[in-house]
């Protein structure tokens, strides 16, 4: 920041907008821009746009990597829609997204409201609560989860004390998905940090004015906090649901490598992995991938459309 002081003071207004670039200067700016951007442009063409087009083509072919792709029209899509395992994977994924995302965000918001109060140790709690978001995706934590939720382990035996015997988690097709949901909720720290940043920006005067008007804590939350942090809430809902659609590691590690038992944790990505990399059905897997992209795009579009109704943007801010 010392640099700011040393910077020569120029007469304001006259030259502050940088020397107006002539045609020559503008061309040089363009060249510089594209040179600096060149890694990104190469990456975008080679690793994003190109592959997307290739994958769209593969989706209409039968392709096993060893012989050239054969055009099959809509076959992959019709087989996919009738495939009971594909249907199962859609069901499992939707259940995971719909259960895990709201619970995780609810906990994140609740704890953020708690931590928004200035009290001793607040920064330490914030750091500790954030840590699971960094280690939660590791195979290590997957193993820990598998151990904690296996038959006769801590979770199982603790709940039996309270008379809640569900018949185990990891080996139980009815409950194993909820062990994954629990792992997702455990990582509430990342959205919590974003909520906290949003809560800090709510002007204190609003609360003081509301208190003078006799609004209780619930009214203040509903009429001030919630509208004021709705952009942050929107961001979290969008990001967390898109992430939840893409879950893979925990299904593969916490349950078994076939995403069982009885396909109970056969999340979409897991089935895509099996089809593409275990059975070398690259065409079918690409059709699955594009179906997911369209589904995620639809969810995103609906969220963006709905935000007009519930997301409150401060007009003065921009």
């Amino acid at each position: 920041m010392t640099l700011v002081k040393e910077a020569p003071v120029r007469p304001a207004g006259k030259r502050s907008a940088a020397p107006a670039p002539g045609r020559h200067g503008r061309r040089r700016e363009n060249l510089a821009g594209y040179l600096f951007m060149s890694p990104w442009i190469a990456g975008f063409l080679l690793l994003t746009a190109g592959p997307m087009i290739a994958s769209l083509y593969y989706a209409f072919t039968s392709y096993n990597l060893f012989t050239p792709p054969q055009w099959v029209g809509l076959d992959n899509f019709t087989t996919m829609f009738q495939d009971p395992r594909w249907q199962k994977s859609v069901e499992v994924t939707l259940k995971y997204v719909v259960v895990a995302t709201p619970l995780k965000l609810l906990l994140a918001l609740g704890v953020a409201l708690l931590l928004a109060q200035k009290r001793r140790g607040q920064a330490l709690y914030r750091a500790a609560f954030y840590m699971p978001s960094l280690i939660g995706a590791s195979v290590s934590v997957g193993f820990v989860w598998r151990a904690l939720f296996s038959d006769d382990a801590v979770v199982d035996r603790t709940q039996k004390v309270f008379g809640l015997d569900v018949g185990g988690w990891i080996g139980n097709p009815d409950y194993v998905l909820y062990a994954l949901v629990a792992l997702s909720i455990w990582q509430f720290g990342a959205p919590m940090v974003i909520f906290l940043a949003g809560l800090k920006q709510v002007p204190r005067e609003l609360y003081e004015a509301a208190e003078v008007d006799g609004a209780g804590p619930f009214r203040r939350f509903w009429n001030i906090t919630l509208p004021m942090i709705s952009p942050v809430l929107f961001f979290n809902v969008l990001l967390e649901s898109i992430h939840a659609f893409q879950v893979f590691g925990s299904a593969y590690v916490v349950s078994d490598t076939r995403c069982g038992p009885a396909d109970a944790t056969l999340v979409y990505t897991c089935y895509l992995y099996q089809k593409g990399f275990k059975e070398a059905q690259m065409g079918f897997a690409s059709a699955m991938a594009w179906t997911l992209v369209i589904a995620v795009a639809l969810v995103t579009a609906v969220l963006f459309w709905s935000q007009k109704k519930w997301v409150h943007y401060e007009e003065a801010a921009k």
Binding site: P39, L65, L115, Q201, Q246, Y252, V296
Partner: protein, 294 residues
């Protein structure tokens, strides 16, 4: 601010302080409760790695009654002839290359977006943000086909190529936001003093962007260290496996017999991530928070 009020013990003040004290107590009880749930799995794995294999699942004690070192000494034998250090070296190499790639390519790209006015900048920026929301699945298969045709299967190239080509849009975005916040006068002054863009980037913008660069570097390291799907798809030879794959190999090949060592290795694998987190938690949390705000 509450501690000083107590000395004024007039009856009028008491209900307020009383209420404040109860509120404070409730706050700490709530926070500690959440803390217990959050930390339980971490303390569990710490305790479990010092328990005999047969006790790990069966015993409900969080910490071992009599700590044993057998699980850690068992790691010295390696897994199916591969030494444990090999997995860690491979992971370190992957994560190290990823960090170098992301820092160089993302900062160059971010500089262009934040500091150079060139034709098509807004369109490219929109495209870049669009890739943030794109599910990576759609790239999984075509990228695999591409790297297979180029002969890079079973190498680190497919895992780090994208890092050197700024495909990690999140970090580009983070750095753009940061660089836009730097005072404009600085690079205008540099320009008037005859600095070209390369010079301005290298000696002014890059040093000032250190917080955003550190945040991106640490996140990249942690993501690469934890990465499971990438190595699973691209690496086939056990001697090239990263820690994630080594752990999976442990589970598949040694199974129950060496359960304790598997848990011990899980603990060791967490150490770098937790250490980085403790050293840089401010950068990480602030980086997360700003990315969500604007």
């Amino acid at each position: 601010m509450s501690s000083q009020v107590t000395t004024v013990a007039t009856p009028v003040v008491r209900p307020a302080t009383e209420r404040r004290r109860i509120g404070s107590l409730a706050w700490h009880v709530g926070a500690l409760l959440v803390l217990a749930v959050v930390l339980y799995p971490v303390i569990w794995v710490l305790g479990a790695s010092f328990k005999p294999s047969k006790d790990i699942i069966a015993s409900l004690d969080l910490l071992p009654t009599k700590p044993v070192w057998a699980n850690f000494s068992g790691l010295a034998d390696g897994i199916s002839g591969i030494s444990i250090t090999s997995f860690f070296t491979n992971s370190l190499m992957y994560a190290g290359l990823a960090v170098v790639g992301v820092v160089i390519s993302s900062s160059l790209t971010a500089y262009a977006f934040a500091k150079i006015r060139f034709a098509g900048r807004n369109l490219l920026f929109t495209l870049m943000i669009g890739t943030l929301l794109l599910p990576y699945h759609v790239l999984l298969i075509p990228q695999y086909v591409l790297f297979r045709n180029l002969g890079y299967i079973d190498t680190l190239v497919p895992l780090v190529a994208g890092k050197f080509l700024a495909t990690e849009a999140f970090f580009v975005f983070l750095m753009v936001q940061f660089m836009r916040g730097l005072p404009r006068e600085l690079d205008e002054a540099a320009k008037l003093d005859g600095c070209g863009h390369l010079r301005t980037y290298w000696s002014i913008v890059l040093p000032l962007s250190r917080p955003a660069i550190i945040t991106s570097a640490i996140f990249t390291f942690i993501n690469a260290w934890n990465d499971f799907m990438g190595p699973l798809i691209y690496l086939n030879t056990p001697s090239k496996y990263t820690v994630s794959l080594g752990l999976m190999m442990f589970r598949d090949q040694e199974g129950i017999s060496n359960y304790g060592s598997m848990i011990a290795m899980s603990l060791v694998a967490l150490v770098p991530v937790v250490a980085f987190f403790m050293a840089f938690q401010r950068y990480l949390i602030d980086g997360m928070a700003t990315s969500g705000l604007k």
